[in-house]
Amino acid sequence: MNNAAEPLVLEYAVEGMDFARAGDAASAIRKACVKLGLTANDVRRVAVIAYEAELNIVIHAWKGTLRALIFSGRVELVAEDSGPGIPDIEQAMVEGFSTAPHHVREMGFGAGMGLNNIQRHADHLTIESAENVGTVLRAVVILGTS
């Protein structure tokens, strides 16, 4: 039977450069949050982080997964990809810093705001990355905080 301490886990595969489906995983996670009765503000925070994390995989990585672990007091979003990795995470966190290719920027993505946006909306954020292996991003939203 369901164990209350076990989170609800929603997991979605995300493909690099698949802009046609970019945002679908974040949409599904957002929808679940609405159905779980999260507050408007919590829904928005989760939606923003999930979308930016998903887009990061689409833009930069080869492929990956986006997972939402939903507990009654917090939501953990884990974006795990295999890809080029982030050589300098500190630099990547600088507002406006972007390594997105030109054609991606032309689509209106990759303005170098993604990680900032995630940081702004998360209560905790950790990023682990290995060059040419991939990146694991974990963002935690404590429910009910602003």
């Binding site: 609800l8 609405v34 159905k35 779980l36 009765g37 503000n41 939606a47 009654s72």
Partner: protein, 445 residues
């Protein structure tokens, strides 16, 4: 009074229990039960998608009858801008408005006039730079209700100015009662509506406590009567100008507002996509969002007569012809009324969390786990035979204990097969005594 008023209702006699409507509802508010569609009242936003899609015309919009006019000493018609786009080029606007008088109204106040005032208010809100970006028009009541149900975090983006319909009623009544000619209770204002959402906005308003509009006459009904009376000789000069008239079609609000980065989106499913973008904080460069539930805007409403694409070009021509006309409002008057806050919504618009699985987050999480488990057992065809719009919706209904897994015909068939196989299996098993006897009989000597 019922907790919920809905204009959109079911004509059970006409409903065949097909699955067209359930699959088009943006809030998954419809199920088929006992061969008939059932609307979950708390979820319905009266957008009218089901009215449009129903092949049997079993979904209807409840509107008011023209007989309601007899209850008032002085009656005012409030034609929606979309109404003017229903007629051909030979029907002059003055004649259309005149025909409304012949129909029995004592006065006509064009909603397009109030749309000019609302446009002014939008402009002021945008220019103030104080609005939550991007500000969203609250003119379409179905969009407002969609926000309450599915995008509660965006409610603070709504521009808290009443709709042109509501303002038109207030302005018209103020004029009619000025000087004591009539007491407020003697004046009745009737909106000629292209959609059910407006009817609900009158009967159960969200931004105000009581609507100043006393009734909603279906545009279809009014059109038929007005057509017959076009040659009645009655004529009333059109007072609205192009920007207000243009509100009847998608893009009209933005066009009236004029300059800036203005986004217009129409069709409820497209609106949802844009709202998702807004929530992600991706559209902060936008100065204003006009969002209309119906494709084409109000001329695409479920209660219109004319093909919306034809109505669009007619309304555009009409708006162009009167674009530069002199407005009845002076800049000073608009400024004064806006500054006094006369047009503001007075009631907060709160979320309506009707989509949630449970009031308690932990219990909702447990139910959602059950949904995900159930979903793996379901075929994923979204066939609708169970009466729910999708396998996921059925799984949620099961978690809410509103449905059973055997409502799925594929699971039911599987169970029947298992049972049948079990019966066959059992049939071959006989007690030893009989088995022995049978063996004797059956065995060749």
């Amino acid at each position: 009074m019922n907790r919920y008023f809905h204009s959109v209702t079911l004509d059970a006699d006409k409903c065949k229990g097909c699955t067209n409507c359930i699959k088009h509802c943006p809030t998954e508010a419809i199920r088929v039960r006992d061969g008939k569609a059932v609307i979950k009242e708390e979820r319905c936003i009266d957008c009218g998608e089901c009215i449009r899609i129903c092949p049997n015309h079993a979904k209807v919009a409840v509107t008011d009858d023209l007989e309601l006019l007899t209850r008032f000493r002085h009656t005012i018609a409030l034609p929606a801008p979309a109404f003017m786009g229903q007629f051909g080029p030979d029907a002059l606007p003055d004649r259309i408005l005149g025909a409304l008088l012949s129909l029995g109204f004592d006065e006509v106040f064009e909603v397009a006039l109030a749309a000019e005032a609302v446009t002014y208010a939008f402009r002021r809100v945008i220019d103030s730079g104080r609005a939550r970006r991007p500000p969203i028009s609250a003119a379409c009541p179905a969009v407002v209700r969609l926000l309450q149900v599915r995008f509660p975090s965006l409610l603070e983006h709504l521009i808290r100015v009443e709709s042109p319909m509501e303002l038109a009623a207030r302005m018209a009544k103020r004029q009619a009662t000025a000087g004591g000619a009539f007491r407020p209770a003697e004046v009745g204002a009737f909106f000629i509506t292209p959609c059910p959402a407006k009817v609900t906005a009158i009967k159960q308003p969200v931004g105000t406590h009581t609507s100043s509009v006393d009734g909603a006459i279906s545009l279809v009904a009014a059109y038929g009567e007005v057509r017959k009376l076009l040659d009645s000789g009655s004529s009333l000069p059109l007072r609205a100008t192009g920007p207000g008239l243009g509100w009847g079609r998608a893009g009209g609000e933005a066009m009236a507002v004029g300059s800036g980065t203005l986004l217009s989106v129409d069709g409820i499913h497209s609106v949802i996509k844009v709202l998702e973008e807004v929530e992600r904080g991706r559209l902060e460069e936008i100065d204003f969002i006009e969002a209309q539930a119906c494709v084409g805007g109000c001329i695409g409403g479920p209660l219109v007569v004319q093909n919306p694409f034809v109505a669009r070009v007619r309304l555009r021509n009409l708006a162009n012809r009167y674009w530069e006309s002199q407005s009845v409002f002076s800049e000073a008057q608009l400024d004064q009324e806006y500054t006094q806050g006369l047009w503001n919504m007075v009631r907060p618009i709160g979320p309506r969390p009707v989509m949630r699985l449970d009031d308690d987050v932990q219990r909702a999480i447990d139910k959602m786990k059950l949904v995900e488990e159930t979903l793996e057992q379901l075929p994923g065809l979204d066939c609708g035979s169970c009466g729910a719009p999708s396998c996921r919706a059925l799984a949620e209904d099961i978690a809410r204990q509103d449905a059973a897994d055997t409502d799925c015909i594929f699971i039911l068939r599987e169970r029947v097969q298992e049972l049948a196989e079990g019966v066959v299996d059992l049939a071959s098993k006989l007690p030893p005594a009989i088995r022995a006897g049978q063996k004797k009989d059956g065995e060749p000597e």
